[in-house]
């Protein structure tokens, strides 16, 4: 048996290696910054004979997911990756894939939606997939991008789930940044990841139809079944995450990662790579006497409802960092967390870092301290959108009436 090896690599390369270790057989992808390295690396691995797969060089993202879906429905493990406009271009195929109950894994390297053109990190692309029926996860670092991708194959191919899954990693911050990543040996991966399972295969002989018209009542029942599978997925994610620890030493049984939450009065919540900075900010704030913890959503779908409630329901305030905004309302994570927590703690939504605007741990410290002061001064508050931009606070709709000074 081989040994795991520690290598320095970019997040995109970690994802490409995960596809290789998962023994993906068909990859269809179209290049878009910052996803490109994934496609290039997979093509390189195939060319060198290190990966036994076919690359379908499609002409668009719409075709990328369609070809990936076609391959998956033909009975092989299939993979694609995209970002931003590419994800939006394939949007209808996301729905078609999920509704077909066909396991497919896709990496989404998060990036802003134009105009104006902007290739930097933002979460509006990945969070627009929330309603499609895909499982959606977000990595904090390159190791997690690798680990989640490998686990996603096993989770999506579990008969209790049979839904496709997205692994998100932040554009440039992870995709193009070199970090140490531990690669396992193939034998261990093969033990962890059984051969592909899927609900049906399209092949000659047996006449059957996928996706033809159904009476509306059955259509609704199919959607009810998908919701049930999402609930099952919570259990499957925990099981697989725990198994992963047995094989590879890293435990992913929690859908939400809590950092110093247990004794915290205040919780900073969010998803993605900047939550690492949030942890530093929490430590700095603790030095100032504020008991702050960090709740990072590793999974967006299924929404980790009970985990979130357990971690944050009894807290004094939850400050939600959102790297995207549902324009005309508030950040998507703010809305989801407010709902899950019944807005019992004070809720403060902070849209920030949109379009790649740099947010350091000092920025997080600054707006978190401001939010804490508001709660200490006014008691319970509910502020959907307290925009933090270049060091300043801008209360915006719908909370623009809130006086913050």
């Amino acid at each position: 048996m081989g040994m795991p090896k520690l290598l320095a690599m970019r997040g995109n390369e970690a994802v490409a290696y995960a596809a290789k270790y998962a023994r993906v057989e068909v990859v269809a992808a179209y290049p878009i910054t910052p996803q490109t390295i994934i496609v290039e690396k997979i093509d390189e691995l195939i060319s060198k004979g290190e990966m036994d797969a076919e690359m379908i060089h499609v002409e668009s993202e719409h075709s990328a997911l369609a070809a990936t879906y076609g391959a998956a429905i033909g009975g092989v493990r299939a993979f694609t990756a995209t970002s931003s406009h590419g994800l939006m271009y394939m949007y209808e195929v996301l729905w078609w894939t999920a509704g077909s109950r066909i396991p497919v894994v896709m990496a989404v390297v998060t990036r802003a939606m134009g105009p104006p053109w902007n290739i930097h990190v933002s979460h509006e692309d990945i969070l627009a997939t929330r309603d499609t029926g895909w499982l959606v996860s977000m990595a904090e670092n390159n190791q997690e991008a690798f680990d989640l991708t490998l686990q996603m194959f096993r989770i999506t191919e579990d008969p209790r789930v049979y839904l496709p899954g997205i692994v998100g990693l932040d554009g440039f911050i992870l995709s193009h940044t070199v970090e140490p990543v531990e690669l396992p040996d193939q034998e261990t991966v093969d033990e962890f990841l059984p051969p592909r399972r899927q609900p049906y295969v399209m092949e000659p002989g047996e006449p059957k139809a996928m996706g033809n018209l159904v009476p509306d009542e059955y259509f609704e029942e199919l959607r009810m079944d998908m919701q049930q599978s999402m609930e099952n997925a919570v259990k499957v994610i925990r099981e697989v995450g725990k198994e992963y620890a047995k094989y590879f030493g890293r435990d992913y049984s929690d859908l939400v990662e809590c950092y110093k939450c247990s004794d915290a009065d205040y919780i900073v919540a969010g998803t993605g790579s900047w939550m690492g900075d949030a942890k530093i900010a929490a430590d700095k704030l603790r030095e100032k006497g504020y008991r702050v913890g960090v709740m990072r959503l590793r999974w967006i779908r299924p929404f980790p409802w009970s985990d979130v409630r357990e971690a944050a329901m009894s807290k004094r305030a939850v400050i939600v960092m959102d790297r995207s905004l549902s324009t005309g309302h508030a950040g998507p994570l703010f809305l989801e967390l407010s709902s899950a927590l019944e807005a019992k703690p004070s809720m403060i939504g902070v849209p920030a870092g949109i379009g790649g605007v740099d947010i350091s741990y000092e920025d997080i410290e600054r707006f978190t301290e401001k939010a804490i002061q508001l709660v200490e001064e006014h008691g319970r508050v509910y502020i959907p959108a307290m925009w933090y931009h270049l060091g300043k606070i801008f209360p915006t709709y719908p909370s623009s009436h809130v006086k913050l000074d």
């Binding site: 269809a28 391959a71 092949e203 002989g205 033809n212």
Partner: protein, 301 residues
Amino acid sequence: MAVNIKKLPKKPYVMPGHAACPGCPESMGFKYLGMALGDKAVVVIPAGCSSVIQGLWPRQGFGLPILNIVFAAAASTASGLARALKRRGVDAQVVVWAGDGGTADIGFQALSAAAERGEDIIYICVDNEAYMNTGIQRSGLTPYGAWTTTTHTGKRQFKKPLPQIVAAHRVPYVATTSVGYPWDFIAKLKKAASIRGFKYIHLHAPCPVGWRFDPSLTAKIAQLAVETGAWILYEYENGKLRLNPPSNRLIDPEKRKPVEEYLKLQGRFRHLKPEDVEMIKKEIETNWEEITRALKIQGDL
């Protein structure tokens, strides 16, 4: 190219109870598809009339495995499916069964790319010359002068020469055919199935509802299109053009029936003025000139 109809499978591939309109050319065509390819076929169908014709779950009117897919993605979905089945060693023929909108308009980008990649699929364009499923709206393949619900005074543009456009991708096989000539369609399907790489078959499919003719006349209208020279049966095999019967003898304009015989049976052309008919005749001449020129360059004329 001879096909013995008696030796073809008797198995029904279009079942009673399917949802096609009376006289539908698509259900005719699909039957011939089954007769030609038998149980080896797996069919990918983008949005269109055949999405509906196959029937409402839990019934299924088509006797082949059917993968329905979004409008623009037929060729790319079929590409993935064909690659997967080949990797798994499954003996299959992946077929796209798409309408003129799904082929010439919204699905064209994916079609062109699959042709360029040389995907091992048979792509069939079932051309009823408008968006019939959504209610007879114009498409890129609606002919000049035709009434549709979005060209109330008649279309003022010409039909996209799609078979030639696909042939320009230099794929191994491109053919035109018609529901009025089942043996021609079946023979071309069988030939396509014997060739590896991208194959394209353009099936002319007169639609009684959209073209406004009596449902008993589908085959007759299809034949008139060929006999008047308005639709030409030919094939490109490895780039070499060949006219097929009965179009081969119609290279002589004298042998063609007057196009009026084809037009007058269709309500969609009822409003045509004499100058519109002249435009249609001119377009037919242009199409034949192109064919003649290509045959001359090949040294076949």
